[in-house]
């Protein structure tokens, strides 16, 4: 019924977003798919943290790293009203499964974490602008907490691409820095390696695993790699500051409350560099750091 137009959002970074005639940003147009998706598996991967796979071939096929889905229960559930919640597409399989990394924060995630294999959910996606990485460009991913999600997808795709390319530089081009407060929140490292083929550099604030301290400590000095960051706001601020100091190019995935996910409600705005409000669901969630206003 609905066709997905993956061609509209290239990984080339070439999609022009400023409408120069009016001087106003044209939103990133994707045609999302509404998908009644069955949960195929759910496993606990850390404290209060779940890895959920759903069967949604359309969304799996069309998704790119950095994009997200609105994940909810639809309107049929008796006695339940739940707005869908935004989740990064964290993985996809060739046979049409989509993987989501879900941590319980409040009521909504508590309810969604209860979905069991066989249960039906409603997905809308893929949504938003993905990370934009020029082919061959080395990247350094900075993940805080469940900000890991889009990088599972991204590193898995990069590994797959470099495996198929089988060039000599394969494997060297992606670094993954991953920080958590404590070991008990760390994503199951076996599963992570199985999904991505990558071994992350770990950081915990309390030193219970990996290096002690913030994940930002792992950002390489003097590197020219493209920085990609996703995580809690204080972490993003730190990365933005560091990138500015070192003149590094940075794309960040931001989080804001959302209702529609498709650009109609204007609920998800973040402050643009020019002082205007920008809808993060269609113009983000991935922004060049310079597109936004950051606290100093």
């Amino acid at each position: 019924m609905l066709t997905t137009r993956t061609d509209l959002h290239g990984v080339s970074g070439a999609d022009s977003r400023a409408d120069h005639r009016t001087g106003h940003r044209a939103p990133h147009r994707v045609t999302p798919c509404r998908s009644r998706a069955r949960v195929t598996s759910r496993r606990r991967v850390a404290d209060d943290t779940w890895w959920i796979e759903l069967d949604s071939p359309e969304i799996a096929a069309a998704s790119q790293p950095g994009q997200f889905v609105m994940f909810g229960l639809g309107l049929e559930e008796p006695g339940v009203f739940l707005l869908p919640r935004p989740f990064s597409v964290a993985w996809r399989s060739e046979d049409g499964r989509v993987g989501l990394l879900l941590r319980v924060f409040g009521e909504g995630t508590r309810r969604l974490a209860r979905l069991e294999p066989g249960d039906e959910a409603l997905l809308l996606g893929p949504l938003g602008r993905p990370f934009r990485v020029a082919p061959g460009r080395p990247i350094e991913c900075v993940a805080g907490g469940v900000g890991l999600a889009p990088f599972i997808f991204l590193t898995a795709e990069a590994t797959a691409a470099s495996n198929s390319a089988a060039g000599p530089s394969a494997g060297a081009s992606v670094r993954l820095l991953y920080g958590e407060r404590s070991e008990r929140l760390l994503f199951d490292s076996d599963l992570l390696h199985e999904l991505t083929g990558v071994t992350p550099e770990l950081f915990t604030e309390d030193g219970s695993a990996g290096r002690r301290g913030f994940v930002t400590a792992g950002i390489e000095d003097g590197s020219e790699a493209l920085l990609l960051a996703c995580g809690p706001t204080p972490m993003l601020h730190a990365v933005v500051r560091l990138a500015a100091e070192r003149g590094r190019e940075l794309q960040v995935s931001v989080e804001e409350h959302m209702a529609c996910g498709i650009g109609t409600c204007q609920g998800c705005v973040v402050p643009g560099a020019d002082g205007s409000w920008i809808k993060s669901c269609v113009e983000g969630p991935v922004f060049d750091a310079t597109e936004l206003t950051w606290p100093i």
Binding site: L75, C260, C265
Partner: protein, 312 residues
């Protein structure tokens, strides 16, 4: 086959279901998701004379059985609406009708939008928003009898198009305001807009919503919307668009039996973009299941209307 067609506001509505203002933008996004021409139409996001930047985030959050929003009527303003948004409506809607939701700080603001739009194509009429709780003075006209009367009169003088006034439930008696609209020349009513509300993040000891207060919508307000529709219907003869918490055919039928001839679906579309289609189909099934050929006879057709309801 049941026929949901009704003649209203001088045109045919082949479906009684519209998308509510502020929840469907200016149309295109939903057109990617649902066949808009299968429903009765949509009401645009509010349009003001000048562009408005809107409120700081967070602008939306969930509440028990509903949500709260304080967008702050962010919109591109009259000029860009005409240049960038109307053409899409004109080109893409065939059977579906569009109402333009109009806001202003002063009655002249409202009048300027109506006057500025009236010669354009691509929409059927106006929904005058005197009931937005999320901006200073947003409900001023909706809660002041004299101001509302003056406003409706002034706008009536500006246009021959359908002029629908969107009421706020935030008054002692919606019926009084419904009657004022009728007496001053409105063609229809929309009932209801959101309820003022507040949500507090007790950890941060701050309001969740950047604007501090917001408007509550969704299933939580369904019984209040049905009530307001019923009150408005009892107070005047204008056609009513019922709004508030509608998720399915059953909810919509409550509004219709209470007196609405059209219904609008807002928050439910966020939960499922197909919501409006499901509402349409639910109403059609209701008619079929009950062997009723047309919708019109059900509007306001409560069986215990007029029964005193007092104990023996």
């Amino acid at each position: 086959m049941t026929d949901l067609t009704q003649s209203l506001f001088g045109v045919e509505f082949h479906s009684p279901v519209l998308l509510a203002s502020g929840t469907c933008g200016y149309g295109p996004e939903y057109a990617d998701l649902i066949p808009l021409d299968r429903i009765g139409g949509l009401v645009t996001k509010a349009v003001s004379v000048e562009p408005r930047v809107g409120n700081p985030p967070h602008r939306v959050a969930e509440t028990p059985g509903g949500m709260i929003n304080a967008i702050g009527l962010e919109n591109v303003g009259l000029e860009r609406f005409i240049a960038e948004k109307l053409p899409w409506l004109k080109e893409n809607l065939t059977r579906a009708h569009a109402f333009v939701n109009v806001v202003g700080y002063t009655s002249d603001d409202f009048a300027a939008v109506v006057a500025g739009l009236d010669g354009e194509e691509g929409f059927l009429g106006y929904e005058i928003n005197v009931s937005c709780p999320n901006v200073k003075g947003g409900t001023m006209f909706g809660t002041d009898e004299i101001a509302l009367a003056e406003l409706v009169k002034q706008l009536r003088a500006e246009t021959q198009r359908p002029l629908v006034v969107k009421l706020t439930p935030n008054v002692a008696d919606v019926g009084v305001f419904a009657r004022i609209c009728e007496e001053n020349g409105a063609d229809g009513l929309s009932a209801i807009n959101t309820f003022p509300g507040m949500l507090i993040d007790v950890e941060r000891r701050r309001t969740v919503i950047g604007n501090r207060t917001g408007g509550v919508s969704g299933p939580a307000i369904l019984p209040m919307g049905v009530y307001s529709t019923w009150r408005a219907r009892a107070a005047c003869n204008l056609p009513i668009m019922g709004i508030g918490g509608i998720r399915n055919g059953n909810d919509a039928m409550q509004y219709i039996l209470a007196g609405a001839c059209l219904v609008q679906v807002g928050t439910a579309s966020f939960v499922d973009p197909d919501a409006a289609i499901c509402v349409h189909e639910g109403i059609a099934s209701y008619l079929e299941d009950h062997g009723l050929p047309t919708l019109t006879e059900l509007v306001g057709a409560l069986e215990n209307e007029g029964i005193s309801g007092l104990p023996s």
